[in-house]
C-alpha cells in the first residue's frame, strides 16, 4: 500500500492540504489563521498548542483546587456537597497530572528536542500532530463528563477498585475517566515513540548522545518511561472498562477477584509517572542554572546517569503506595528498601546543581529565580518522600495531608516551578519577545510565598492526623487554623497565576516598543539559541556540525592561553540568519485531526450507544487510510525537492510516505481498534 512514487490518483489528501507557500521561511507570527494550526505538522506549533492547552487546563485544575480549599477553609465546610467534593478532588488530580503537567512537559519536549539536537523536525511530524490532537480530544472528552456523564469521576485520581465499580460509582464519571485516560494514553505512547526515534535518529552530525543537552536527555528518559508505563495503565483501564461496561470480573470481590490487582497495575504505571512529571523540570533547571551561572553544568555525565538511574529505579518501587494495603510484610519491606535508595541519584542532581552555582556568577533573572526555587522546594518534597519510604513511619503518614504536602512540594515545587522557569527562559525563543522581568519577579515571589503557605501547613495537618480526601472536618480536631492558612495560600498562588497571564499580555503589548531580544538573549549554551527568535519554520538554515557539548556556547567563546574564557564570535556572527530558501519541509495534513476526532466518538459510543462506535471507528479508519495514501509532499507546492533524483532516493522521502504510514497504521489502527 501507500507507495507514492508519484501522487496517486485516488489520493484524498491533496485537496485538504492547506496551500502553504513553502518558500517562506520566517515563521509567520501566530500562523496564518486557524486552518494552519489545525493542519500543522510543525513541531514548534504543536509544542505551542500543547503549552496553551496545558495552561488552560492548569486554570481548570486550579479552579478545582480553589474549590477544594474553599470547602476546607473552615470546619464543617458547606460550599460543596460530599458528592461534588469527591468529584472535584478527583478531577483536580486527574486534570493537573494528565491535562496540565504532562502536556506542559510535552510542550517543551516537542518544541525543544529537535532544536537542541539540531534537527529539522521530529521523526514523524504527522504522528506528532496526531499525538497532540488525540491528547486534546481525550482531555476534552474527559471533561465533558461534567456535562453529559452525570458528573466527574468520583473515585480519586488512582481510582481504587472496587470503589470504582459500577455498584459504588454508578454515574458515568468513572467511564469517562477510563476512556479519557485511555485516549490521552494513546497520545503519550505515540509521542514517546516519535520522540525516542527523534533523539536516536535525527541528531545533527557530531551530536553524539553524550553531547545532547541535559534537558533533551531528561526528556528522552521521560519518553522511555512513558513508552513502558503507558501500556500498563492501558491494561488497567481496559480491565476497568470491561468491568464497568461489559460485566467482566476483574475487580469485583464478590466474584472472587482481588482489588489489589488494580493497585499494582495502577502504581506500576503511577510511580514511573511521577518521574515522568519531574524529569522534564529537572532538565529545564539543568539548562537554566548553568546559563545564569556562566558555567557549564557541573558533572554532566553524573547528571545524565542519575537521570537514567532514576528512570530505572522508578520501576522497582511502586508498591510504596501500597504499604498498608495488606501486601505481605516481605513485599512491604522490599519496596521500602528500594524506595529509600532512589534518594541517592536524586541527591546527585541537587548537589550538582549547587556545585554549578558554586563559584559561578549568578544572575537572577526570573527564569533563574524559578530554577533555584525549584532546587530548594523540590528538596523539601523529596525529603518528606524519604520519610514515607520508611514503611513503618508511612503507616502513620499514608493517606493524610502529610502525603498531600509531599506530592505538592515535588510536583508543584519541583515540576511546576521548574517548568515556569522554562517558560520565562524559552519565551523569547518561541515568541520573539521577552516576558517582563519585573512582573516576572512579582510572579515568582507571589507564587513561592503562596505555594509555601498552601502546602507547608499541610505537613502539620497531616501529622495532626488530618486524612486526605475528606470533605469536612469537625472543629474539635484542631485543623482549622492551618487549613485557613492553606486556603489563603492557594489564593495567593491564584494571584500569581493571574500575574503571569497579565505579564504575558503586557509583554506582548509592549514588545513592539522594545528592542527585539535577538537569537540569544541570555547568552545561553545549546543549539536552539543559534537560530533566530522566534525560531524559523525550518529551524536551521544549515544543520550545524556539532563538535562539543554546549556547542553554541563554544561557538561564542574559547579559551586564551591562560585558560581564561574569551569571546571568539559575537552572537550576530555565530547565529544562523534564518533566511535559507528551498528547505524541504513536511507538508501539513488534516488527517491526524480526523483520526483524533474519531476516538472520543468511540468513547461516547462505548458509554451511550454502541452505534456511535461504528461512526467513530469509521472516522479513525478513514483517517488512517487517507493518511497512508496521501502523498508525503504537497505536490503543487513550489519547493525544490524534485522527484527527479535517482530512483532509490524516493525510498527515503517515502520514509514518511510509505513506511511511516505502515507504522502509523500499525500503531494508530491498533490503538484505535483496541
Amino acid at each position: 500500500m501507500a507507495v507514492t512514487d508519484e501522487p496517486l490518483a485516488l489520493t484524498t489528501g491533496e485537496d485538504l492540504v492547506v496551500d502553504r507557500p513553502l518558500g517562506v521561511f520566517t515563521r509567520p507570527q501566530g500562523g496564518k489563521g486557524w486552518r494552519d494550526w489545525l493542519s500543522t505538522v510543525d513541531h514548534k506549533k504543536i509544542g505551542i498548542m500543547y503549552g496553551v492547552a496545558a495552561m488552560f487546563f492548569f486554570v481548570v485544575g486550579g479552579i478545582e483546587a480553589l474549590l477544594i480549599r474553599l470547602q476546607l477553609a473552615a470546619p464543617d465546610g458547606q460550599i460543596l456537597s460530599a458528592d461534588v467534593y469527591n468529584q472535584v478532588f478527583t478531577m483536580h488530580g486527574v486534570t493537573m497530572v494528565f491535562l496540565f503537567i504532562m502536556p506542559l512537559a510535552a510542550a517543551f519536549a516537542n518544541y525543544l528536542i529537535p532544536l537542541q539536537i539540531g534537527a529539522r523536525d521530529v521523526a514523524f511530524p504527522r504522528l506528532n500532530a496526531l499525538s497532540f490532537w488525540v491528547w486534546l480530544s481525550g482531555a476534552i472528552f474527559l471533561n465533558t463528563s461534567w456535562i453529559v456523564g452525570g458528573g466527574g469521576a468520583d473515585c480519586g485520581w488512582f481510582c481504587y477498585s472496587p470503589n470504582s465499580g459500577l455498584a459504588f460509582s454508578p454515574s458515568h464519571g468513572v467511564d469517562f475517566y477510563a476512556l479519557g485516560l485511555q485516549i490521552a494514553g494513546i497520545a503519550s505512547l505515540v509521542s514517546a515513540i516519535n520522540l525516542i526515534v527523534t533523539c536516536l535518529n535525527m541528531r545533527a552530525p557530531g551530536m553524539s548522545l553524550f553531547r545532547m543537552p541535559v534537558l533533551t536527555w531528561m526528556l528522552l528518559v521521560t519518553q522511555f518511561l512513558l513508552l513502558f508505563a503507558i501500556p500498563v495503565i492501558t491494561v488497567a483501564l481496559f480491565l476497568l472498562m470491561f468491568d464497568r461496561l461489559f460485566d467482566a470480573q476483574f475487580f469485583n470481590p464478590e466474584a472472587g477477584a482481588d482489588p489489589l490487582l488494580w493497585q499494582h497495575l495502577f502504581w506500576i504505571f503511577g510511580h514511573p509517572e511521577v518521574y515522568i512529571i519531574i524529569l522534564p523540570a529537572f532538565g529545564v533547571v539543568s539548562e537554566i542554572i548553568p546559563t545564569f551561572s556562566r558555567k557549564p553544568i557541573f558533572g554532566y555525565s553524573f547528571m545524565v546517569f542519575s537521570g537514567i538511574a532514576i528512570g530505572f529505579m522508578g520501576w522497582g518501587v511502586w508498591a510504596h503506595h501500597m504499604f498498608v494495603s495488606g501486601i505481605g510484610p516481605l513485599s512491604v519491606w522490599a519496596f521500602s528498601m528500594s524506595t529509600m535508595f532512589i534518594a541517592v541519584p536524586t541527591g546527585v542532581k541537587i548537589l550538582n546543581w549547587l556545585a554549578t552555582m558554586w563559584g559561578g556568577k549568578l544572575r537572577f533573572t526570573t527564569a533563574m529565580l524559578f530554577a533555584v526555587g525549584t532546587v530548594a522546594m523540590f528538596t523539601i518534597g523529596g525529603l518528606s518522600g524519604v520519610t514515607h519510604a520508611l514503611a513503618p513511619a508511612d503507616t502513620q503518614q499514608t493517606d493524610t495531608y502529610y502525603i498531600v504536602a509531599h506530592f505538592h512540594y515535588v510536583i508543584f515545587g519541583g515540576g511546576v516551578l521548574g517548568l515556569m522557569g522554562g517558560l520565562y527562559f524559552w519565551w523569547p525563543k518561541v515568541f520573539g519577545f521577552m516576558l517582563n522581568e519585573t512582573w516576572g519577579k512579582v510572579h515568582f515571589w507571589t507564587m513561592l510565598i503562596g505555594f509555601n503557605l498552601t502546602f507547608g501547613p499541610m505537613h502539620v495537618l497531616g501529622l495532626q492526623g488530618m486524612s486526605r480526601r475528606i470533605d469536612t472536618y469537625s472543629p474539635g480536631f484542631g485543623f482549622a487554623f492551618w487549613n485557613l492558612i492553606a486556603t489563603i495560600g492557594a489564593f495567593i498562588i491564584a494571584l500569581s497565576v493571574v500575574v503571569f497571564f497579565l505579564n504575558v499580555w503586557k509583554s506582548r503589548r509592549d514588545a513592539p516598543h522594545l528592542p527585539a531580544p535577538g537569537p540569544d538573549p541570555w547568552d545561553a549554551r545549546s543549539l536552539e539559541w543559534m537560530i533566530q527568535s522566534p525560531a524559523p519554520e525550518h529551524n536551521f538554515d544549515e544543520v550545524p556540525i556539532v563538535e562539543s557539548d554546549d556547542e553554541w556556547w563554544h561557538r561564542k567563546y574559547g579559551y586564551d592561553e591562560n585558560k581564561n574564557v574569551v569571546r571568539i564570535a559575537t552572537i550576530e556572527e555565530a547565529t544562523q540568519k534564518g533566511d535559507a530558501v528551498g528547505v524541504h519541509l513536511p507538508a501539513p495534513s488534516f488527517w491526524p485531526l480526523v483520526v483524533a476526532l474519531g476516538l472520543p466518538i468511540i468513547g461516547y459510543g462505548l458509554i451511550f450507544n454502541l452505534w456511535l462506535c461504528v461512526l467513530g471507528g469509521a472516522l479513525v479508519g478513514l483517517g488512517i487510510y487517507s493518511w497512508a495514501l496521501e502523498p508525503v509532499d504537497d505536490p503543487d507546492a513550489d519547493h525544490d525537492h524534485g522527484h527527479d533524483d535517482h530512483d532509490d532516493d524516493d525510498d527515503d522521502d517515502d520514509g514518511e510516505g510509505a513506511e511511516a504510514e505502515m507504522a502509523d497504521a500499525t500503531a494508530g489502527a491498533e490503538e484505535g481498534a483496541d
Binding site: 470503589n163 557541573f298 553524573f302 528498601m337 549568578l362 524519604v386 513511619a393
Partner: protein, 434 residues
C-alpha cells in the same frame, strides 16, 4: 514544637477522661500522630523522629547552601563583564562522594527501618489472657475481627477459646456468628497485644487509631493482620483513611482501652442478649414465633417503638434476643450493599453512633435523643449516603430515611433506649476505675 502542632495532653485520670467523654469531644478529638500511646506507636515514632531530624538537617544544609550561594555569588548583570568564573565542569571524587555519602546514610536508615518493620509486623504468640465466658474460664488470644463497610466499622469478638481462622471468615457477608458484635467502638484490655483481623464488606477502607498504631487497609476478600495495644485505659480516636466514597470523611471509630477487670465486665454485658420488660417480651416472643402481635395506640412508647422497629428497621438491624429469630428462622443478612447494618443489641452500651460521628449521651449523662431523632429523621442529611431514591435493583449504601412520623421517631427512640446498659452503664463505670 508541641504548640505548633496544637497538642492537647490527654490525662489518664478518670475525671479528665469522663469530662472528655461527655464534653462532646467524642467525634472531634484529636488524631495526632505525634503522641504515641502504645508500644507499636512508640516504635514507629522512635524510627520516624530521628529520620525527621536527619531530613531536617539535610533540608537546612541544602536550602542554606542555595540561599548562601545565591546571595554570595549574585551579580546584577553580565553586561560589560568579560570575566568568566572558573569553568569547572566536574570533579569525580566529589561527585562520587555525594553519591556514596547519601547511600551510606540511607543504608543506616534502611537497617533501622527493617528492624522496626519486622518488629511491628510480628505477632506475640504468647499473649493469651484468661477470660470468663459463660461462666467458664477460657484462654483468649485477644483477637478482634474488624469489618469495614460504607461508612462504619463493625467489630466482632470470637471468645470461646477457639481461634478464628481466615478460612472460617472467607465470606465477609456471612461471617460465622460472633459472641459480641459492636459498631463504631470497640474495647480492648490494656497492656495486652490484641490482634486485629481487618477486612471489608464492600470497598476498601483503612483502619487507623493514630495513638495506638498506624493504619491497615480493609480490603474486601482479604484479611489483613494488624495489632493494637494501649498502655493506659482511655478512649483513642480513629478515622477511616482510605477513600471509600461519599461519606468517607464521616467514617470514624474509637478504641476503648479498659483495665482487664473492666474488660471482663464489658464482655459479660455484651455477651448477653437484649433483655426486655414483660410487656415487650410478650411482643418479642410472638414475633419470634412468627405471629406478630398488634400494638395499639395506648401501648407504651417503648412497645410502639418496638413495633415500628419490627416493621421499619428489623430488616437491616439485628437485636439479639429479638429478630435473631424471624418467623422461626435465624436472622439472615441485611438489605444494604454490604449486607450489613450495625448490630443494635447493646446500642446504649456505646457512647457514639452513626460511624462515631454523633454522641449518644449528653454532657449530663442523659441520652442524646435530639441527635438520635435527627439521625432517624434524615440520615442522609447528617451523613450523605446512597440509601434513598434508588433505581430498581440498587441496594442502599448507608442508612435510609424510613419516613417515620415524629411520633414514630420518638417511639422508636424510646425503644432504642431500652437496648443495653443505660446512661451510667458499662462504659462510664468501667472507666471510672483506675
Amino acid at each position: 514544637m508541641s504548640d505548633l502542632f496544637n497538642v492537647r495532653r490527654r490525662g489518664t485520670g478518670t475525671g479528665l477522661l469522663l469530662a472528655l467523654l461527655l464534653a462532646g469531644c467524642a467525634s472531634d478529638a484529636e488524631l495526632d500522630t505525634l503522641e504515641p500511646q502504645s508500644p507499636v506507636a512508640d516504635e514507629i515514632w522512635g524510627l520516624a523522629l530521628p529520620v525527621f531530624i536527619i531530613a531536617g538537617v539535610v533540608l537546612v544544609l541544602v536550602c542554606g547552601a542555595v540561599l548562601w550561594l545565591s546571595l554570595k555569588n549574585r551579580v546584577a548583570t553580565y553586561e560589560g563583564d568579560d570575566e568568566f568564573p572558573a569553568q569547572t565542569a566536574h570533579n569525580n571524587p566529589l561527585e562520587l562522594g555525594w553519591t556514596i555519602g547519601p547511600a551510606i546514610l540511607m543504608a543506616i536508615i534502611a537497617v533501622a527501618t527493617s528492624v522496626v518493620h519486622f518488629s511491628i509486623n510480628s505477632v506475640d504468640e504468647e499473649n493469651a489472657m484468661p477470660l470468663t465466658v459463660h461462666g467458664e474460664t477460657v484462654d483468649w488470644e485477644p483477637t478482634v475481627v474488624v469489618v469495614g463497610q460504607q461508612w462504619w466499622w463493625e467489630y466482632r469478638y470470637y471468645l470461646d477459646g477457639q481461634q478464628i481462622t481466615t478460612e472460617q471468615l472467607a465470606d465477609q457477608r456471612n461471617l460465622p456468628p460472633a459472641d459480641i458484635v459492636t459498631s463504631g467502638q470497640f474495647a480492648i484490655p490494656t497492656g495486652q497485644e490484641v490482634e486485629l483481623i481487618i477486612t471489608s464488606r464492600d470497598v476498601i477502607h483503612s483502619h487507623w487509631i493514630p495513638a495506638l498504631n498506624g493504619k491497615r487497609d480493609a480490603v474486601p476478600g482479604r484479611f489483613a493482620p494488624w495489632k493494637i495495644e494501649a498502655y493506659d485505659p482511655g478512649v483513642y480516636f480513629g478515622q477511616c483513611t482510605e477513600f471509600c466514597g461519599l461519606s468517607h470523611s464521616r467514617m470514624r471509630m474509637q478504641t476503648i482501652a479498659l483495665d482487664p477487670p473492666d474488660f471482663q465486665a464489658w464482655i459479660d454485658e455484651q455477651m448477653a442478649p437484649a433483655t426486655f420488660d414483660a410487656e415487650l417480651q410478650a411482643y418479642v416472643d410472638a414475633y419470634r414465633a412468627g405471629e406478630p402481635a398488634a400494638v395499639d395506640d395506648e401501648a407504651s412508647a417503648e412497645l410502639r417503638g418496638l413495633d415500628v422497629f419490627a416493621a421499619q428497621c428489623a430488616s437491616c438491624h439485628l437485636v439479639n434476643g429479638f429478630n435473631d429469630m424471624v418467623n422461626g428462622e435465624p436472622y439472615d443478612g441485611a438489605d444494604v450493599v454490604s449486607g450489613s447494618a450495625p448490630d443494635l443489641t447493646h446500642l446504649m452500651g456505646r457512647t457514639t453512633f452513626a460511624g462515631g460521628i454523633l454522641n449518644l449521651y449528653n454532657e449530663d449523662g442523659t441520652v442524646n435523643v435530639d441527635d438520635l431523632a435527627r439521625w432517624i429523621r434524615d440520615p442522609n442529611g447528617i451523613k450523605e449516603n446512597f440509601a434513598d431514591g434508588l433505581a430498581d435493583g440498587e441496594l442502599p449504601r448507608g442508612m435510609p430515611d424510613r419516613n417515620l412520623t415524629e411520633r414514630q421517631i420518638d417511639d422508636v427512640i424510646a425503644f432504642l433506649i431500652t437496648l443495653g446498659p443505660d446512661a451510667d452503664g458499662w462504659m462510664i463505670d468501667a472507666t471510672e476505675v483506675e
